[in-house]
């Protein structure tokens, strides 16, 4: 095992991450406006911005899903209990003792087990929930004549809203956890793509031989 700086976030992943972040902020801002929590944007403009941002995000997700499947990067999100307890213990206790983060990033495991599980939940539960309810809401006029459509719309809207609150909570936790250690150091990999990763000798040899641009 040797620690090297490896490009673990390729260009598309970084673009996906930041574009998604920007769209989520636009959606949270316009969505809270639409819901009446603030009046910083006129309702009509909020409808336009919210809808277009949502459609853009859906398109982005389609690309991202394709990317995850074709590149095999989906494997980073497979849930595992290996090391999970140590990470949980670190955030609940070790961090206060000045301990080092117990998780060592691996080439095929760039997220710690808690992180991977959170992202998996995000991708499998919250994101589908928000876009399914959002699309149902957006296309209300196509199903409004179904029995009790108005009631279903209200339920749909409230599920959408609840999911949005949970996503906002995720954003808070996500950003907060970056502050443990050095905030900028944590953000940097998502900008440059490079992070410190433990490589097996085989991985190191492979990268140096076949993908020299991904290793420093």
């Amino acid at each position: 095992m040797v620690e090297r700086r490896v490009k673990i976030y390729p260009r598309f992943e970084r673009f996906w991450h930041w574009a998604q972040a920007a769209l989520i902020f636009i959606l949270l801002f316009t969505g809270t406006g639409l819901h009446g929590l603030h009046a910083l944007i006129p309702f009509g403009s909020a409808v336009t911005a919210h809808t277009l941002a949502a459609l853009a995000l859906v398109v982005l997700w389609i690309f991202a899903i394709f990317w995850h499947v074709t590149t095999g990067t989906w494997r980073h999100y497979l849930p595992t209990t290996k090391g999970l307890f140590q990470v949980a213990r670190f955030y609940a206790y070790g961090v206060f003792k000045g301990e080092h983060h117990p998780y060592r990033k691996a080439y095929w495991r760039k997220h710690n087990p808690m992180q991977a599980m959170t992202y998996l939940a995000l991708k499998l539960i919250l994101f589908p929930a928000i876009w399914l309810t959002g699309i149902a809401y957006l296309t209300y006029n196509f199903w409004q004549h179904q029995p009790s459509a108005a009631h279903i719309l209200e339920v749909t809207a409230n599920l959408h809203l609840l999911t949005a609150y949970l996503l906002a909570a995720f954003v808070i936790v996500h950003v907060y956890l970056l502050t443990i250690g050095n905030f900028l150091e944590h953000v940097k990999p998502m900008i440059t793509g490079f992070d410190a990763v433990d490589l097996t000798p085989e991985e190191e040899a492979y990268l140096q031989a076949d993908e020299p641009g991904r290793i420093r």
Binding site: G36, L37, P42, G44, V47, A150, L162, G181
Partner: protein, 550 residues
């Protein structure tokens, strides 16, 4: 608006301009040129039957009927004539002959004043029905184009013909001048706003008293008041929308086409609807933008009028919003008096008290009352029991968010205080106009006698004891469509205390920002934030004490 619509409106605009251009010519009695300008195939000024000195309305009508053999029968089959209406959905017997309203109250026993706006001559007794003779149809009130023909305000529909009694006034409240019936007869053409407006702009006893969206402003409105009737715009006549078929005009206030699903988008193709959709179609907003699509998504639940008539009683003439009959009858030194404490924005003062009628309130640029409405209106007639503990709805709007035929409509909500029978618990008729009887309220100021006389007149039991009850009456708002730039913004309704705040039972985005889900969601957010802050605080505290991190 589709391209086809634009061209249709262009055409109406052209016709409208042509009509305006024709007015001064007609007024100059050069009717031949007028007829030519209108493209008419008949120049009535050349008709022998009309070239004579007429001394009464019916004489003119006889001349009209000598060619228009079916016109009299057609008019006599219309609600304009019968003042009677059997509601197709509720079965209620309605019409001006029967209903009680929150304004003057009732026609019965006050005929010669109220029937001054009947489209006929000499309907003296309501219970006898309108006159039988076709010659009693008043052709000129609708078809005169000299702009001089009118009716006296209390002679059962007759025009002012010399000699007229001094002090006589017309149905618009103007001093009466003798009408040149021959000139009027020779000028006839399609009705203009000046024809319809004489009655419909002055309902309830004065300018814009009743409807709120029909005032004398509409004789020559600016575009900002009415985009369709604008004198500097399309200059629509009433009949441009209120199309007719055999003298039956489209448009009703008893059974309204509240949602036109046919939506032909072909002006005047259907002869039985006066709906916006009959010209503008069911997807009237420009669909290229997201907002256009979204607005078109609204038309199934929100009437066009709701957004496009942001306020009514615009243009300088106020509408009456409150009429309290219970204060009527106060006298000063034994004489009736009036107060006019309200000044409307065109400078005219309006009555705030009259011994004859009670107390009034007025308003201009009124934000409508909104309600789910399927077009059906049930009236509280004099035979319906009322509950005087609460405000009585003189007419009840039918509709609900669950009903796909209902849409959100704007209304003028008239508040009133009206007499009712204390023991029998029903609204009562009132005999106000005599003028010379010893029971008429406006002559004697005695409620007991006037109610008794009216109830006796209509043949309905009366206990002899009356009191006053608060009332509401709803008037659908559909005129005074504003230019699109003045249509309501989304947030007029999509906001917490928005215009639809009184409507419940459906999901309105933005209408209830602090519901249960928000409370849960905000609790989660607060807990998350508190957790993060708490975690950070402990981190900072322990790091200071402990070894440096990293």
């Amino acid at each position: 608006m589709t391209r086809a619509n634009v061209s249709w409106f262009g055409m109406f605009g052209f016709i409208g301009l042509a009509l305006v251009a024709a007015i001064p010519i007609v007024r100059a009695q050069d009717a031949q040129t007028a007829a030519a300008a209108l493209g008419s195939t008949a120049d009535h000024s050349t008709f022998k039957a009309l070239k004579k000195a007429f001394s009464s309305g019916p004489e003119v009508t006889e001349a009209c009927l000598s060619c228009h053999t079916e016109a009299g029968k057609q008019v006599m089959g219309s609600i304009h004539w019968t003042w009677s209406y059997t509601h197709p959905a509720t079965g209620q017997q309605l019409g001006k002959r029967r209903v009680i309203n929150a304004f003057c109250g009732n026609v019965a026993s006050n005929e010669r004043r109220c029937t001054s706006c009947h489209v006929g001559y000499g309907w003296d007794a309501l219970k006898d029905g309108p006159p039988q003779e076709q010659s009693k149809v008043d052709c000129l009130i609708c078809h005169d184009r000299t702009g001089t023909y009118t009716k006296l305000d209390s002679t059962a529909g007759n025009p002012p013909v010399a000699p007229i009694a001094p002090g006589s006034t017309t149905i618009t409240g103007a001093p009466a001048k003798p009408v040149d019936l021959a000139a009027a007869a020779q000028s006839v053409g399609l009705p203009r706003r000046e024809n319809c407006g004489q009655c419909h702009f002055f309902g309830g006893g004065g300018d814009n008293v009743k409807h709120g969206d029909l005032s004398s402003v509409l004789f020559a409105p600016d575009k900002s008041v009415d985009v369709h009737m604008a004198k500097d715009g399309p200059n629509f006549a009433c009949s441009t929308c209120h199309v007719s078929n055999r003298h039956i005009l489209a448009g009703s206030r008893y059974a309204i086409n509240a949602r036109d699903t046919t939506a032909t988008a072909k002006p005047r193709r259907r002869r039985d609807v006066a709906t916006c959709e009959s010209c503008h179609g069911a997807a009237p907003h420009k669909g290229a933008s997201l907002i256009g699509i979204k607005l078109n998504d609204h038309v199934d639940r929100v009437a066009c009028q709701t957004c496009h008539i942001p306020e009514f009683a615009r243009g300088g003439v106020a509408t009456k919003t409150y009429w309290d009959w219970s204060t009527a009858g106060n006298l000063k030194d034994g004489r009736p008096y009036g107060e006019d404490e309200f000044t409307q924005s065109d400078g005219k003062r309006r009555h705030t008290y009259l011994s004859t009628k009670g107390s009034f309130q007025w308003a201009e640029n009124v934000v409508p009352h909104y309600a789910w409405f399927d077009g059906q209106i049930r009236y509280t007639t004099a035979t319906d029991k009322i509950d005087p503990a609460a405000a009585v709805e003189i007419n009840q709007l039918s509709g609900s968010p669950e009903d796909p035929a209902s849409r959100i409509w704007p209304f003028k909500r008239m508040k009133g205080r009206q007499a009712y029978d204390k023991n029998f618990r029903n609204l009562v008729y009132n005999h106000v106009f005599g003028p010379e009887t010893d029971t008429a309220f406006w002559t004697n100021f005695d409620w007991a006698r006037s109610i008794e006389a009216a109830m006796d007149y209509v043949g309905q039991p009366y206990s002899g004891e009356f009191d006053f009850v608060d009332t509401y009456m709803y008037w659908p708002i559909t005129h005074m469509v504003a230019p699109k730039a003045q249509a309501l913004d989304c947030q007029s309704c999509h906001a917490k205390e928005g215009r639809l705040a009184n409507l419940t039972g459906f999901y309105l985005p933005g209408g209830s920002p602090m519901g249960l889900v928000d409370k849960i969601g905000l609790a989660v957010l607060v807990a998350t934030l508190a957790g993060a802050i708490g975690h950070a605080a402990v981190r900072i505290a322990t790091q200071r004490r402990g070894s440096p991190h990293g």
